[in-house]
């Protein structure tokens, strides 16, 4: 002992740090990453690599050369944005398109607002939606997964895309969904962006995050519940026009979005009831876009729209203060 430290209480700290929490999210995403590489092969690996590397490098470069601040890449949040962006695009996306997505995600959606904790919208989703509207060809050409050592990929629409296409041509939902075995949806066997096809691995990651108390389950569960309920009502009214609840839960980016994007700390409400309202909003908007919108898929838009009202939800839904009305 040479000198004594003197500071106000508390004198100990929990083991949690921003980095440890983000590391847990990365760990939770690993099963889905492995699953997507196994199903899509080296092309998916390239997309992941380019996405993560460009997100991290961009954040480093922006903090160093533009903001002239200490680098924040050690908190691993850019790695998560990179992985989520990669899981949100088809594995056939060219590397330079992925890079543009990373520029928009990190450069525009995150760092422009002041970096970690300051952004209003989920960076990976902003990147994804930017690519979707700018490069629709790359973003909507899907291929059935052929596996790590598979043969040439066969092109085909995603289940949600196929339904919308089919409905426009006058088919009924029953005819269209009969082509899908729901087990295939759960066990990663259909066309879609990487994150859309590995439902079980994503759910495993979600359970891990809940057990580690990194996230609370209520946002995700209220999204699932709302999607199920909304589609149950519409499907009950007219099963030939509207898809059934299970189909809606298992397809598209719903599981990825509900488990990993809607639960992002920065862009989701803090309180229980704020989170529930947020989740209900996402679920409902997703179904409205799926049923009545011009895009087959609505999770990304629904989350971004609800991200915008998070400050309001934080203001309206607060924990009751001790001993006060």
């Amino acid at each position: 002992m040479s000198k004594l430290l003197v500071s106000p209480s508390p004198h100990i700290h929990s083991k949690d740090s921003t980095r440890s929490l983000m590391l847990d999210v990365v760990i939770a995403l690993i099963p889905a990453v492995i699953c997507s590489v196994v199903f899509y092969g080296w092309q998916e690996l390239l997309v992941l690599g380019v996405s993560v590397a460009s997100c991290v490098l961009l954040e480093w470069a922006i903090t160093k050369y533009m903001l002239k601040q200490p680098s924040t890449i050690a908190d691993l949040s850019a790695v998560i944005t990179g992985i989520l962006l990669a899981l949100n695009v088809p594995y056939t996306t060219p590397w330079w398109v992925v890079f543009i997505g990373a520029v928009v995600a990190i450069g525009v959606a995150k760092m422009t607002f002041g970096g970690i904790g300051q952004n209003i919208w989920n960076p990976a989703l902003v990147g994804r939606v930017f690519l979707l509207v700018s490069f629709p060809t790359y973003m909507t050409t899907w291929s059935k997964p052929q596996g790590l050592f598979g043969l040439d990929a066969v092109s085909g629409p995603t289940p949600l895309g196929a339904i919308q296409e089919g409905l426009m041509q006058g088919s009924t939902v029953q005819e269209l969904t009969s082509a899908y075995d729901y087990k295939d949806l759960l066990f990663a066997n259909l066309g879609g962006s990487a994150g859309e096809v590995c439902a079980l691995t994503l759910l495993a990651g979600f359970v891990y995050l809940c057990c580690r108390k990194v996230i609370k389950p209520w946002i995700t569960l209220s999204i699932f519940a709302t999607v199920a309920l909304t589609s149950l009502i519409f499907w009950g009214i007219d099963p030939s026009r509207f898809t059934d609840p299970l189909f809606n839960l298992l397809t598209g980016g719903l599981i990825l979005g509900a488990c990993f994007m809607a639960t992002d700390y920065v862009t989701s409400p803090m309180s229980l009831w704020g989170g529930v309202v947020f989740g209900v909003g996402i679920g409902f908007l997703t179904m409205m876009i799926r049923y009545f919108g011009s895009y087959p898929e609505g999770v990304s838009f629904a989350i971004l729209i609800m991200n915008s009202v998070v400050p309001l939800l934080n203001m309206w839904f607060k924990q009751k203060k001790f001993g006060r009305k």
Partner: protein
């Protein structure tokens, strides 16, 4: 077995009770003690001895300085050497009475035997008066004079006495050892407090990580045969020992902002206070010593010591082998709410409950990073506040907004800072906001009082 806890927030740090097996041990007398006249909440006491006087253990050496005040007794026998300012553990000066120890002669009327006195006096007023004469103050941390707490304002009524045996701070074990080794005295103390408050029911609340204490106290209650005293097993949760949290956990009632526990019919006293009440009422023994946990992973010799009030910290530490090389911070109290010691020459006071040694690795704060809006601080806050918001408002010096968002309700438990993954010094900043809001509230109250008096005077002049 159902387990009780409070409704909002709380954290769960590792309890690290590494000194739990160390039996209470009497610390040998120091050659000199320094007894502060300001060791309780309220007015400092006024010395009533002079330099050169001979004093005995338990003799009054300072009188209460006001209604909210307490007697201070000599903790040793010997000669008063000086009455002068001396630095406390934070380095701030206050008047101390220095006494050179000669022998160990106790004042008359103090029963120093171990005989347990279980007969409870009939008159509540007599009990409270003996508590006052014994200089008893709340030993759970706040050191509020106990007799004041036991004299509720007219119109309020106590419905339950709660004995706080939670000891929810990590590392601390002195209350646990007291429950185990002096359980009989604590239970009699509880019976006295119960009687003093008009024979209301009494609950002894103990956290589940002290099963031996729970079993022992249950046995003692059965053996002594007191009616209306029960043990409640509490879930492990910090800050359960906080007065408002404990009342919520035991009685499911929430004390309002700025209100006293008595407003919901509760009186809470700590285990060590119950023991002091027993000593004061049954044995005529004022507070001259208290038990202090000396602990920390880096400290070679864990101990639960019974220490005379006014013993220099350095003396206690030297007795156990000195400050270890790896210790970077010494804390008086627990790691969540204790105060860092800046001055080892400082002496113990009635409320000193622990000396904790932490290494730099255990205690050094990590650099602050950006808020990620995870909401962990709000989840952890046992008062239901929004620390992230109060932090911002305090930094912006927006005291009105701090008040609107209840910064004054903060109990400074440290849960927010403890749980913040971005290591933002939330509580440091909130303390500033809380202080400003409280002084604004006091200033308003004073202004209102002055205005009322002026109006009254004007009225009187008119008539």
């Amino acid at each position: 077995m159902s387990k009780h806890t409070f409704a909002i927030g709380g954290v769960h740090p590792h309890d690290n009770k590494i000194s739990r097996e160390c039996a209470l041990e009497q610390l040998p007398l120091a050659p000199t003690v320094y007894i502060s006249v300001a060791q309780h909440i309220g007015a400092p006491s006024v010395p009533c001895v002079a330099v050169g006087d001979k004093v005995k253990v338990g003799q009054v050496i300072a009188q209460p300085g006001g209604f909210v005040g307490a007697f201070i007794h000599s903790s040793v026998s010997g000669t008063v050497k000086s009455i002068a300012p001396r630095a406390d553990l934070a380095g701030r000066a206050s008047t101390h009475i220095e006494i050179a120890v000669e022998g160990d002669e106790w004042a008359e009327g103090i029963d120093t035997s171990d005989t347990l006195v279980t007969t409870i006096p009939e008159d509540p007023k007599a009990i409270i008066e003996k508590i006052r004469l014994g200089g008893v103050v709340g030993l759970g941390g706040a050191t509020f004079p106990t007799h004041v707490k036991l004299s509720p304002p007219p119109g309020s009524k106590c419905e339950r006495v709660i004995i706080n045996g939670c000891e929810c701070e990590p590392y601390l074990t002195s209350d646990f050892r007291t429950l185990l080794e002096k359980g009989e005295q604590v239970v009699v103390g509880a019976a006295l407090l119960k009687k003093a408050m008009g024979d209301v029911p009494c609950t002894i609340a103990i956290e589940e990580n002290k099963p031996e204490a729970i079993a022992h106290i249950r046995e003692v209650i059965a053996k002594l045969g007191y009616e209306g005293i029960d043990v409640m097993v509490m879930k492990m949760m910090y800050p359960q020992g906080g007065e408002k949290q404990l009342i919520d956990a035991v009685m499911h009632r929430q004390v309002g902002s700025g209100a006293l526990p008595i407003s919901v019919g509760a009186v809470v006293q700590n285990v060590a206070t119950a023991l002091a009440v027993y000593d004061a009422v049954q044995k005529g023994k004022p507070i001259v010593d208290n038990s202090v946990t000396v602990t920390g992973e880096c400290f070679p010799k864990q101990a639960n010591l019974v220490v005379r009030v006014g013993t220099p910290l350095q003396y206690i530490i030297d007795y156990l082998g000195g400050v270890p090389e790896s210790a970077a911070k010494i804390i008086s109290g627990g790691p969540m709410m204790g105060r860092a010691v800046a001055n080892l020459q400082a002496a113990t006071v009635k409320g000193t409950g622990a000396l904790l040694f932490l290494t730099e690795k255990q205690t050094r704060r990590a650099p602050e990073t950006g808020c990620i809006r995870c909401g962990k601080c709000a989840d952890a806050c046992p008062m239901g506040l929004e620390p992230f918001l109060l932090n911002k408002l305090s930094k912006a010096a927006d005291w009105d907004a701090c008040e609107a968002n209840a910064a004054q309700d903060c109990i400074e438990c440290g849960c927010c800072l403890y749980s913040c993954p971005a290591h933002i010094p939330l509580l440091d900043n909130i303390r500033v906001g809380k202080g400003s809001v409280l002084s604004a509230i006091r200033a308003r109250a004073a202004a209102a009082k002055a205005a009322a008096e002026a109006a009254k005077a004007a009225e009187a002049a008119k008539n």
